[in-house]
Amino acid sequence: MFQYISKNKSLIIVLVVVLASFVWMTSQIREPGGPTLLERGVAGLAYPFVVSVDFAAGTARGVWEGYIYLVGLVPENDRLSEENGRLFRENTGLREKLERRSRVEELWTLKEDTGYPAMPARVVGRDSTSWFKSVWVDAGTDDGVAKNMPAVVAYGLVGRVIKPYSGSARVMLITNPGSSVSCMLERSRENGILTGDGSGTCTLSYVDKKSDVAEGDLVITSGLDMVYPKAMPVGVVTTVDRDAPGYFQVVRVKPTADLDHIEDLLIMKYSPPAKEQ
């Protein structure tokens, strides 16, 4: 027995790690809470590096794209070449600022439209795995961000805050397999629960087979989950399968917001209307 254990020590440790992880994960599902000390520690250590790499990558991309663009235009004259380089660097910086400004303006208009207090946040990092769709933003509890606050862009719902840290926060996207949003179809007012599938699209579940659903229908929030405000655009129906086994249709939804390329978003300080007594 002891011989077998010592011979297969690593295999036994693997099995113990898997079992212990399942117990750990189950306990997190039973009692969901804020970020743990371990997560805070790792996030705190990694955050400055992530921001630096993000900045460096952005700068390198700008310079490289600019080089490709300008390489055929730069005159042979050294003075003009130098002048061109300087102007190009200025131009790249200004274009970047202009682009950011237009995004912020869009968010500002959105903030005024929704009527809820909100704060803009910049995306500095993304999910390190391909399994959980989430983004890391540069606003945290110090800025008033709290758990479950909705995040939006001009084109629709992005997700909600799941892990607020002091200077940053983790936002779970609506395409995350753990995300569920109470939604309805704008045209027919049919209700359903929108869940993510981890691959960039969503599924509108619990839609009765007799319900009126068509491709191209706009999906909006219903506000029934008391997390997201009502009537936020969420996605567009791409396919409807009424022949799927079970009582419900399988409705696939493509998010209206380009979740793979978000750079700035708005975190809303939304509080659901009090329930009537």
């Binding site: 992880s21 990694a46 990558a57 500095v124 993304r126 390190s128 892990k163 599938d197």
Partner: protein, 177 residues
């Protein structure tokens, strides 16, 4: 039980940071290679199953903390992958491009099936087969392609490294007999 080597731990942390900040730049049709997984494979295949398990667990817990998912999911998934990579390294005599591609693909698929099963069981009530086909399979292909290329790139005998060696003059390539 083996110990984790500090440089290996730092490489894993660096891979996690690059993945979290610039990983989307490598995305192809929404699938991005997992630099952490490739690093775990590269470290474990030479280190054996004991250290492979540790590298996998360390890379996994960092990935868990930076992904916003369930803590323990990538830890266990990557620990299994690291352990298997370590075992594979002991049995494969010549770890070349073909062995790397097949190895990374199979290990990544195994890890993907495990993670998909855990997600379907614990978080969402989706279909396991759909999750595997949509997520795990493309991820395994992407990891295998990117991993094989990266490992070829940093191989001492690869043209790039030979060119650099010639350039710096530090290593004599093809010494005259």
């Amino acid at each position: 039980m083996k110990n984790i080597r500090i440089p290996a731990a730092l490489i894993l942390a660096a891979a996690a940071i690059v993945q979290a900040s610039a990983g989307d730049a490598l995305s192809f049709y929404g699938v991005k290679p997992s630099l952490i997984f490739i690093t775990i494979y590269a470290l474990s295949i030479r280190a054996g199953e004991g250290r492979g398990l540790l590298y996998g667990a360390l890379g996994g817990i960092i990935e868990d903390c930076l992904s916003g998912g369930l803590l323990g999911l990538m830890l266990s998934g990557n620990a299994v992958a690291g352990y298997l990579a370590g075992r594979m390294g002991k049995r494969v005599y010549n770890v070349g491009e073909v062995a790397n591609f097949i190895g990374i693909f199979l290990l990544s698929l195994t890890q993907g099936v495990y993670v998909s099963a855990a997600i379907v069981t614990l978080i969402s009530s989706g279909d396991l087969l759909v999750a595997v086909v949509r997520n795990a399979l493309p991820q395994a292909f992407m990891n295998a392609a990117a991993g094989t290329f990266l490992l070829w790139l940093i191989d001492r005998d690869a043209p790039v490294m030979r060119f650099l060696a010639r350039l710096t003059g530090r290593v004599q390539v093809h010494p005259q007999v």
